[in-house]
Every structure is written in structure tokens, then in C-alpha cells.
Amino acid sequence: MEHLSWGRFPRTAQRDFPLGEPSTGLPRLLPPLLARGLGRSYGDSCLSRGTLLPTCSWNRFMAFDEASGLLKAEAGVSLGRILEVLGPRGFLPPVLPGTRHVSLGGAVASDVHGKNHHRAGTFGCHVHALELLRSDGSRTICSREQNGDLFAATIGGLGLTGLISWVELKLKAIPGPMIRVETQKLRHIEHFFRLEETDLALREYTVAWIDSGARGRHLGRGHYMAGDHADLPRPWPRPPLAFKVPGEMPTWLLNPLVLQTFNRIYHHSLLRQRAEALVSLYPFFFPLDRLERWNLLYGRSGFQQYQCVTAKPETLIRILQTVADSSHRSFLTVLKKFGDPVSPGLLSFPQPGFTLAMDFAQRPGLDRLFRQWDEWIMEDGGRIYAAKDARMTQGDFQRQYAQAPTFSRWVDPAFSSLFWDRVSGVKP
């Protein structure tokens, strides 16, 4: 079976080994091993030169307490499945990333964040306990109180500390499936930073979409979306039907002109300066799930997502400026302000500041652009999201993730990924 990362770059052959019952423990295989969830990591943190262990067969719910909202489930259960099963009973995973096709184990390993980071923190903030299968044959239950060091290393640990077999997560009670969303048209990037100071930014969910093709006085124009759960008990909706990209599209399809036009049309599709709407949570949280396998749109050469965080607005403006001046265009650009809640994870990506995520088709010259931005980000004390990266060097990693030396002590010697081979200096 062919395994690729979500960005379909780099392309290297992958082997996998089907897991047995969770009780049988870790299979004895030639290292390095790496868990494989639903393959939504963009970069090479989900690829291995050894054997991938697909967790899709570990998809059972184990226990749920309605009084406390505490759910225990196997690592292969997806967030979408949790939503489908427990949403109708008024419970929601406390943090939802941009797709619902993420496994619990993957959400922990990448310590994912969502539109409510400024209030709820990362996914790892809501994990009460998890079980880790290590290559020494041990099964370790980790929580903040019990094996706290290993717990901290595993949250955001990119699957390197062992195989997560189950996760205990505290769900959030919600009044119903509807979100009251207010959308404001952003005239330019300064407008975004101004809105972040207003009451709108205090809503439970906030995120901005940016038109990466706009330049000059329109630089950083886009839409600012802020949402709250509507107190309307409605029947739980079905997930909207998804259109499936039939196959790998030609590489020229998403060329800069198409992307610029798409972004411009989307920007102007919001006719008024300000719009309010009541929407179901599926399109609100997971707009891209409407287009299944959208990563195939980029064609054979794939794409890279650049996601960084920095506390300095000037750096973001400079980055957007260089995109507008270059021949590269981002299909989807998302800007979000992170909050103060601190994740227990050692390698957790979010930190106070602004995070910018952009998707770029893999083309010559992209690396030079990224390199330049890396320097600016690192000067600010910011960092790049490891779960989306496919090119960070060992030095960059050490500089961006101060806890890296502590983390590496907890890495299971039989586990590695292509990402880890690179940033830990292993020569395959």
C-alpha cells in the first residue's frame, strides 16, 4: 500500500504492518517503527524509513461518563466519529482542527489546535490520560500526575515516544449543533490587528482567511470569522456530502493565476462589510471536508504548508508582502491569534502570538522563500509547526524548540520518522 503525507511531498516508499488486538501490545519488528493514523500530517512526520503501524483497526470506544464528559477511546477513533456518536448527546471534542478526519492518537501526537485556541488551548490541554506501548515491552499509563514527564513528551511528541493505544479525553458540553457566526470583511492586514483588540476577538471561535494575492493597500485583505455556540436545540445534522477529487490532477491546474482569481472571487463573495449567519458546525469547523482528497488537486509534485507563529505583527506583514511580490500563490491562507493557555506538551507548537498558515504548490524557488521567512521567524523567537514541516534542519529545530533536548531523552529508541531522522541528525 502506498502511504504519502497529506502534502504528498516528499514521496518515498513506505511499508506497513497491520496491528493485532490492542491487548497483544507492540509487534516485534525491525525498527524504526511509527504509528500511522489517518495521514493528515502535511510534512514528513508521518513517514518512516522503517515500518508504519496503521492504527485504523484500533477504533473502539471504551468508556464514556455523561456526568463528567470523560471519554476513553482507542487511538484510531477519529474526531469525526466522536462527533457523530456523542454530538447528538451534546458533547464535542474540546478542540477541533480543520478536518474531522484525524485520529485521537494523531491529535495527541501533533497536539493540534483549533479556532478556540485563545480560550481552550491545544488538544493536549484536555487529555487526562493515555496509554503508551514502548519497545521495551512496557504498557505505561501516562497523565499529568502519573509518569508526567513521559506524558509531557507524548503530547505533541509526533508519535516518537511509543505507540499510543488509548486516550482519555474530556469532552465539552454544547447546547446544540448550530454556530452563530459573524463574518467581517478585512480591508487590509492592519484591519485584522485592529479587530483582534475588539470584543469580536473574545468570541469562542475566531479565525481569519486572507487573500494572499492582494497587494499594496489591499495587502492582507480577507474575512474575519467569529463564532459562538448557538443555544438552539436542533436535531444533529448529517455531515454534508463531500465531493471527491477523482484522482491526481495535472500539476499546472493550481497555477498562480488560478489561485489569485479564486482568492479574489472568494474575497468578493462576501457582499456586505459584515454578515451574520447561523450555520451547522460541520461547514463551520471543517470547510475543506466538503472536498475529499483535495490534496490531489496539487498533482504529482504535491505541496507544502508553511505554518509559523510569531508575536510580531510586522514579521507577518513582511511575509505576506514577499508572497504578494513573488510568483507563488497560496491556495488557502489562514491567520489566527493564539492565546495564553499553555499545553503540557514539550514540543507543542502554539505559543502566544499570531499564527499564519499557507499552502504552496511544490515549485522551484519555494525553498528559498521559506528559508528567508524561517530566519525572520527565528529572530522573533517564533517557530514552525513540526507536524507540517518537511525541511527543517537540526539547528533550526534546536533553536525553535527549546525543550528539544529534554524531549529527546523520552524518544523510544525503536521509533523514528523521516522528520526525526532529519532533526536529530540520524543518517539513514
Binding site: 488486538e21 490492542p22 491487548s23 470506544f61
Partner: protein
Amino acid sequence: MKVCVVGACSAIAQAVVERLLVEGHQLYLVARNQVKWQRLLADLAVRHAREIPGEILDACDVSQHRPLMERAAQAMEGLDCLFVAHGMLGDQYQDQEHWPSIERTLHCNFSSAASLATAAANRFLAHGTPGLIAVITSVAGDRGRPSNYIYGSAKGALNLFLQGMRARLFRKGIHVLTIEPGFVATPMTAHRGHGRLFASPEKVARDIARAMRRRKNILYTPCWWQPVMFVIRHIPEWLFKRLPS
């Protein structure tokens, strides 16, 4: 309905269980492997917000079949359906020269299922229940082929057994459903690789649940297996034996 499911951890049974629970039936789940059974029951308890009774039992142990019906009836306060889903494919080429292995496959696929059906029929007759006995056999039971005639003969015998039983019991209001799935993408067939002819357990389960509701006699699932097997059954033997297996 109050349904006793034997072989509840099989992929087809799990998908059927899912549908029966959604339709609001009461279930008693019987499986051999304790670990799988516990995982399944915990999962169902969370997802359907109710505890489902059941037990660990090796369905090949025929001495337990009568007591099983009693225990299931006690747990659900009644019993009006038996669904038999256990079975083993065996390895034709490894087993074909070794009688004890053949006998094990025949026992597991034929004798134990026939015994379960008998136990359920006896209970339904004794209590005057217009019950339903649904048993999974296989299209492999329609014609013997060198590549799996051990499994096929057991399933074929089961087809005949159920056919006779159906004719005997229908006047008493007891219905017998023979389910003949084609290739289904389950762990039992994982070694063959799941090609285009393989149906998903969910698709098969949808057909089974409908056939149970409508009290169909013989169900081929997916339905196109019915004409295919009609043709295969009618190929003359002098030709059939020469066909590549």
C-alpha cells in the same frame, strides 16, 4: 425482536448488530474470543448508551447450545430470533489430506450451526414463538470446487439442512432464513486481498437486516450473486471439473 447473535465478533455480525441496534432490537451477543468480545461490548455500550448482555462461548461446543438459548432468553426476557454468524474458512490445501482438520472445519461450519438452529427451533416450538432463525452460509456451498470444497461442502450441507427445516417449521409460524453472501471484505478473507468482487460488511448487513424484516427464504448478498450462482450451478459437471479453479 430479541435476538441471540452467535459469532458476534465476526465482521458481518458486527455490521448486522449495528443495524439491529439502530432498529431498536434487543440483543444477546455470543463470541468465543474474550478480548474481542469485551472490546465490542464496551464500544457498543458507549455508542448506543446501553449495556448489552452476552457471554463468551465456543459455538463448536454443541452441549452448550440448549443452555445458551435459556440464558439468552433469561437475559432478554424472551427470545424470538437466532442469528448464526460464526464460521471458519480453514486452509483447503493444507487440510485436504488430513481428516481431523477436515472434520474440524465441517463441525464448525455445519454441525455446530445445525445444532444451534435445532436448539432454537425446539425452544420456539416449546414456547409457541413465531421465531426467526437466520444463518449465514455461503455461495461456496452451491457448487464444490477444488479450491475450497471442505468449507463449501459444510456450507452446502447447511443450506440443505436449513431448507428442510424451513419446510418443516413454516406451518408453525417459525421462519428460517438462509443467507448466502458472496465475497465479503472481512478478516476471514484478508489473505486473498480484497478485490473488486468483494462487498463491504455494511452492504451485506443492510441486505441481511432487510431480509430478516421481510422474512425472505434465501438471500444472496450482494443480489447479483443469485444469477451468477444460477449459471454456475447449471454448468455441466464434465465441463465444470475441467475449469481452472
